[in-house]
């Protein structure tokens, strides 16, 4: 268990310079997530056209893990079809041991499966922090439920 593994520079970079922060002006779906025990807040706007995520914007505040996870997530979902987003969520949750199953990450090819998001793997070893990493993803799932009705 090393702190360096938890706080990879990629994570600190996304924490300090979150991508896609803001909101979407045009047609979009909005979802909010909250971890009542720690007070972390995350909110997401996504715009979907013809079954593809064309835009995403994030708001909120919280620890480096939750905010970096959200920032990376927002970048990762843009341009993906809803099916691909579902697949991404599934892989992320497997990587974080939130869903049961084999970790899809290929240790020999860092970044090959989930890109920057793989930096969050270290969180697995800090079980109390897994819910921080998951907050944006749970919020995304809420948003998607609204999209698909």
């Amino acid at each position: 268990m090393s702190l360096e593994e938890l706080y990879r520079s990629v994570i600190l970079d996304h924490y300090r310079n979150p991508r896609r922060r803001g909101s979407i002006e045009g047609d979009h779906v909005h979802a909010e997530g909250l971890n009542p025990s720690c007070g972390d807040e995350f909110a997401l706007d996504i715009a979907v056209e013809d079954g593809t995520v064309v835009d995403a914007a994030i708001q909120g505040h919280g620890c480096s893990i939750s905010q970096a996870s959200g920032s990376m997530m927002a970048e990762a979902i843009i341009g993906k079809s809803l099916l691909e987003v579902d697949e991404l969520i599934h892989k992320f949750k497997l990587m974080m041991a939130i869903e049961e199953g084999e970790n899809p990450i290929d240790e020999s090819k860092p970044g090959a499966v989930l890109g920057d998001l793989e930096a969050l793997q270290g969180v697995r070893k800090f079980p109390v922090r897994i819910k921080c990493a998951d907050l944006p993803w749970a919020t995304l799932q809420d948003a998607l439920r609204e999209v698909t009705g």
Binding site: M1, L3, L6, L12, C38, D40, E41, S64, F126, R129
Partner: protein
Amino acid sequence: MTDLRHLRKDFPVLERTVNGKPLAFLDSAASTQKPVQVLEAMDDLYRNHYANVHRGSYQLSIESTAAYESARVRVADFIKAPDPNELVFTKGTTAAINHVAYGWGLDNLSAGDRILLTKVEHHANIVPWQIIARHTGAELVYLDIDEDFQVDISSLDDILDERVKVVGVTAMSNVTGTIGPVRELADAAHQIGAIVVVDGAQAVPHSPVNVSEMGADFLAFGAHKMLGPTGIGALWGRMELLEQMEPAEGGGEMITDVRLHESTWAPVPQKFEAGTPPIAEAVGFGAAVEYLQKVGMDAVRTHEIDLTRYALQRLAEIPDLTVYGPADPDNRGGAISFTLADIHAHDLATILDQEGVAVRAGHHCAKPLMRHLEIPATARASFYVYSIREEVDQLVDGLHHAREVFGVA
């Protein structure tokens, strides 16, 4: 400097390591560790005397009842209650405040009435009143805090008018360490006929408390923050008010007679102790206050002021660290909330945990206060009788390390 380090041998858990480092337990404001004296008192009850209380006419029940009732006497004596029957055992601080909110509030509040609280209150002294306000139509109003995190009573005359029927105040904040102006509020409240409910969850464990001098009408506190077990606390109230107040819970043990459509209540305190009480927990509570009385509450307070002074000095050495609480250690409790640069409190807590240092991170059940301070979360270090300066040093080293991990220049 009062050195209480000889007490550490009574707390077995303090010898353990965490993540390969000696444990520095700095989260006593959330719950304290337990000395063997408390564990043994509870164990002895279960092994040798245990049965339900107030019911059986056989030897074990008589012994359990005696142990339970003598714990009441001890805890009442600890806060200098004039009459041990004024001490009601509850599940904890939260339950004690709820007893007053429901028992007194539902009957005595109505639309147009006001409940005056302060912005440093714990959710336990806010949410029950919000619920009662919803039921009765009463309204909540709040006293502000000033730049030194003290409850601002400069505008008390404006806010405390005859509409105010209840004043709720913490005697010591679990976030900022602020010592609530209980005496001043009580004197002013009594002039207009309002009652004063004091959240003593932190003040009772950490400072000498005398309910007669305090001027309050009700005082709520819990055992687990003062060396005792979880699951038990107390509500002290002035007998006259307890006698008038309705029970918030009904059931066995709290009645004199039960008929099909109505019942009559048992005398105070049984009236408020529906159901089988936490018997061993009461005994543990009694053992905890006995332990604290042996140490002496003046010594406890002096020790904590020493440690707080030392901690505030050492924390001031760390660049980009902000403390949220009164500056003068003599005029505050020992809960020290802080933030460090742009490092979120949860990240701080994780990093400190790797160094064996246990601190709390978050909103500390005081979200209105956090909103007022415009911060989402703080890390909090807090002490108790067994805390030592070396643990503060370990915290400070951990915070320097956190700066490195986060690359704070």
